[in-house]
Subunit: 194 residues, 2 copies
């Protein structure tokens, strides 16, 4: 089965036909992958954390949960999940978040810039990029609502699989931020099955 | 000081100049108001729950917290807050959420439809409507990430005030959903001070 590699601190975009299964793999462990899904026939329809939280009645999405669009349609269903820890609260890291959180570190366009470039050929603009589904990202919530970003619990070979419920355009990254991957920058692999 | 009333299950949109203070009041108690803010010079810039959670490092926003845009600018600062309970996780109620959660009740276009109509003259389309800042909305999160919608704790006369940090277009509703206002439909009042 063919696996495609997304190199560290980069991103990719590709079509995913209705019925196909997308598996996102963490080949080395402790890495995050930001995932976006747009309706292929109109990219103004996109995954929505708010609609998903509302319909699924949880912030913690795993096997069996569905990812809904801003137009209240299911775009993806999570079919397999060897980690059970993902985030759908935080926007992709960007040059602005690098300036804010890492003022002493070199600037980087981050997952946001990588997604914008990869998705541009499909007609997606930067303003169309919402909160991504952040595979393996570890964002605990304390009793007062405070949040933090900890290293992901994923180990080498862990994966999460999504069934496409519509014809989609997918955006996918190997995360560029320091906090989300424990200060390391690693690749992400993915494969598509019919 | 002039106060404007938003009638039950309706919405409004209006400009708010940089430096002005918008106060959202619950005149009868136990009511929710969905608030949106767009940059007046380009409505593709809009409040973002994901950017706000990231920069403010909390899901529970109250006095002193700032509400950020999808372009990483502060659009509003919360200056006063007599309730301290608001939601920024859930999208505005819509005809789709009514069909989903209240299949036995009459359909209603909800806050989503009310916001879309009120904001249309400013060039905002339905697809431009993100998660709103839901004043007084009570969405507890349990230890597993599960969420529920309970009646708001606001009492008659309670309010929350926002300072505009940019020239804005505001969308504001008196919420139409059953769960968010304890099964009652009440008005919302607002006032603007220089």
């Amino acid at each position: 089965m063919e696996t495609t590699r997304i190199m560290p601190r980069s991103g990719a975009a590709f079509p995913l036909a209705r019925g196909q299964l997308l598996t996102v793999l963490d080949p080395l462990g402790t890495q995050v992958s930001d995932l976006l899904a747009f309706a292929a026939d109109d990219v103004r329809e996109v995954i929505s954390n708010g609609r998903t939280f509302d319909y699924e009645e949880t912030l913690r999405l795993t096997r069996g949960n569905r990812i809904w669009s801003n137009r209240s349609r299911v775009l993806l269903t999570i079919e397999e999940d060897s980690v059970g820890c993902h985030d759908f609260l935080l926007t992709p890291c960007s040059v602005d978040t690098f300036r804010h959180f890492y003022p002493d570190k070199p600037e980087h366009r981050g997952c946001f810039g990588n997604l914008a470039e990869a998705l541009a050929p499909y007609g997606v603009t930067a303003d169309d990029i919402p909160v991504a589904f952040n595979c393996f990202m570890n964002v605990p919530i304390d009793s007062t609502g405070g949040i933090s970003v900890l290293p992901p619990p994923s180990r080498a070979g862990d994966s999460v699989s999504f069934r496409a419920e519509q014809d989609l355009i997918i955006g996918l990254t190997a995360c560029s931020a320091y906090a989300s991957n424990g200060g390391t920058f690693k690749p992400i692999d993915y494969r598509i099955e019919d």
